[in-house]
Symmetry: C2
Subunit: 328 residues, 2 copies
C-alpha cells in the first residue's frame, strides 16, 4: 500500500518531511511516494545516503505556500504537490495522502478531486486533543462554521469509525461538546443533536463541557467547526501562555535558573506529552479517500506518525465503514 506524502508541505519541508518518510520506511515498512519537485526531493534524499527501496519520487512542479488562499491556489496551481498527490489517491495509485501543508488547500483539493462520500453531507476535520496522546478525537475543528444537526450526527459516526479502526479504541465513547451536562443545556441545535445521538447506535455518553475535554471521559468529542476551532486554538494559546510565563519565571533569578536546570528533564518530559508530534496527523473525514493532515510544525517523528495513521486508515477498511454508514 503506497502512501502519497506532500514533500513540500509544512514549516520544515522538505527536510523533516523527507526524514520522516525514511523513518516510516525503515521503522514501519511503509511504502511512500514523495510528491514534489523532483530535484529538490532528490537533493534532500542524497543527504541521507542510500535511498531504500519503497521510497519513490512523484514529480510535481509547484507547491502551495502556507499563507496562500486555499481554494484559489488549488484551482490555479494544478501541478501543485497537493493536487498531484490527491490525484494519485483518486486513481487508486496511492492508498492515502499525508500533508503538513496548507490545511485549507488540502481540504479544497480533497473536495475538488476526491469529492464527498455519497450520503455524507459535509466532511469534517478532526484533531487529537493535546495532552491526550492517542486518546481523544475532536471533530469538527474548522471545516464547517455553519452546521445542521445531521452534520454533527455524521461527524459522530465518522469519528467513531476512525477511533475504532485507526486509533484502535473498542466501542469508542462519543460525547457532545456543550455548555452543561444536562440534555436540556445548550443551543437548540445542540439539543436536537443530543436527541438524535441518544437514539443512534453509537456509544453516546452525553454532554461534555469545555473543562473536561482533556480529562479522558470520552474518546470522540463532537462539535461544530466554529466552536471546535476556537476550543483547539484556545488550548494552544493557553498552553503557550503558561509555558512562556514559566520560562520567564524560571529565568528571573540566578537561583531559579539553577533549580530549573535540575528540573529540565521533568519539564521536557512534560512538554513532550503535549507535543502534537506524538499522534502525527489528523484525519479529514467524509471525502472519498484517506487524507491525513499533519501539524505545520511537524518534525520527522510527527511525519512518521502521520504516515502510520494514514497507513492504518488505508488498510483498516475505514472508508468502506463510513460509506456503509452513510448509505443507511
Amino acid at each position: 500500500m503506497l502512501i502519497a506524502l506532500d514533500a513540500m508541505g509544512g514549516d520544515h519541508a522538505p527536510a523533516e518531511i523527507v526524514a520522516g518518510a525514511l523513518l516510516a520506511r525503515n521503522e514501519l515498512g511503509i511504502e511512500i511516494a514523495l510528491v514534489g519537485p523532483r530535484e529538490i526531493i532528490e537533493a534532500e534524499l542524497t543527504r541521507h545516503g542510500t535511498v531504500p527501496s519503497g521510497i519513490e519520487i512523484v514529480h510535481a512542479s509547484e507547491a502551495i505556500a502556507m499563507d496562500e488562499h486555499p481554494a484559489q491556489a488549488v484551482r490555479t496551481k494544478r501541478d501543485a504537490s497537493i493536487n498531484v498527490a490527491m490525484g494519485m489517491v483518486k486513481r487508486g495509485v496511492a492508498g492515502a495522502f499525508v500533508s503538513a501543508g496548507n490545511t485549507g488547500a488540502v481540504m479544497a483539493s480533497a473536495l475538488m478531486t476526491l469529492g464527498r462520500i455519497q450520503g455524507i453531507e459535509r466532511p469534517a476535520l478532526g484533531t487529537i486533543a493535546p495532552f491526550s496522546e492517542m486518546g481523544i478525537l475532536v471533530l469538527d475543528v474548522g471545516a464547517n462554521a455553519d452546521v445542521k444537526p445531521n452534520y454533527l450526527v455524521q461527524f459522530a459516526q465518522m469519528g467513531s469509525v476512525y477511533a475504532e479502526r485507526v486509533m484502535g479504541i473498542h466501542n469508542p465513547r462519543v460525547a457532545l461538546l456543550n455548555i452543561g451536562g444536562e440534555e436540556t443545556k445548550g443551543s437548540e441545535l445542540i439539543q436536537d443533536v443530543y436527541t438524535r445521538l441518544s437514539k443512534s447506535h453509537l456509544n453516546f455518553i452525553g454532554n461534555i463541557e469545555g473543562g473536561e475535554v482533556h480529562r479522558g471521559r470520552a474518546d470522540v468529542i463532537v462539535t461544530d467547526g466554529f466552536t471546535g476551532n476556537v476550543a483547539v486554538k484556545v488550548t494552544e494559546g493557553v498552553s503557550d501562555f503558561i509555558f512562556r510565563e514559566l520560562r520567564t519565571a524560571l529565568t528571573s533569578k540566578l537561583q531559579y535558573k539553577l533549580a530549573a536546570m535540575v528540573l529540565k528533564p521533568a519539564l521536557l518530559a512534560m512538554r513532550d506529552k503535549m507535543d502534537p508530534g506524538s499522534y502525527g496527523g489528523v484525519p479529514l473525514l467524509g471525502v472519498n479517500g484517506v487524507v491525513m493532515i499533519a501539524h505545520g510544525v511537524s518534525d520527522a517523528r510527527a511525519v512518521k506518525n502521520a504516515l502510520r495513521a494514514a497507513s492504518e486508515g488505508a488498510s483498516s477498511g475505514m472508508l468502506d465503514a463510513i460509506r456503509s454508514l452513510a448509505r443507511k
Copy 2:
C-alpha cells in the same frame, strides 16, 4: 452607595464573604449590606470582633445552593438571599448586587426582578480572560446559547461601556472572536456581526482567533454564549491540566522536589497572576441594575475586588450609558 452582598453564595460562604465585606469596608470605604440569615451572619461577624459602621445585615431566611436548578429555585425560594438582595437593587435601596453563588440563579433572579433594559434584546454575562488581570472582558460566556446578530452588536456596545466606565480603559478596542482573521471567515452570523460592528461607532479592531484571546490585542472580545462558555471552560481545563502535570513532574523525584522548593516563590507568583480573585467579579450586563457575579471559589480578596467593581459600576453611570445606547 450601599452594595448588597449575598452572604450565602459561593463555595466558601459565609466565612470568606463576610471577611471580604470587612476588607472592602475597611480598605475601600464601601458600605455593604450582608444579605442572608441574620443569625449566621451575626455569628460570622462576631468572629471578627467589632463590626465597623457601614456594614449592615439584611435578613433573608433562605439560600440557593450551587447545584440547585436556577429558575426553579428563584421562583420557589422567594426569601432566598439572591432574591432579597435583588429586590434591594430594584427598589434603589442598594446601588449594586454582588454574589459568588449560583450564577444561573443570579441571572434568573435579575431577569425576573430587575428585567432587561429597554431596547436590549438579551443580557450578557461577561468574564475577565484569565491571565489578563484587569485587562480583557469576554462576553457572552453563557447567558445566550442561541443568538442573533443584533445581540452580539449589543454585547459589544455594553462591553465597551463596561470596559470604559468600570475597567477604566479609554476607547476600548473591541474584537470579534472568530476562526480566522479575514472578514470573510466564520459562520454567516459572525460575518453579519462583523459588517455591523465595522459600521458602528465602536473602536472595532476586527476578528481575533482563539489562540490570541490572552494576548492583549483587544480589551473587549465579543462572542455568543455557547462559544464563549466553551472557550472559558477550556481555558480553565487546560490551565488546571498543566498545573497538575507540573505538580506531578516536580514531585516525581527527590532532586526535583528540592529544586521545586527553590522555585516555589516564582511558581506561586505565576499562579497568582492567573487567579480569578484579582479581578473579583464579572458583570451581568443588560439588566436594569448593577449585578456582579464573583467566582464560586472566591476568597475574601476576590469578594473585596468584586465589591470594588460593583461600586464602580454603581457610581460610574454605566447603566445610564447602556440605556442611552439602547435607545438609539
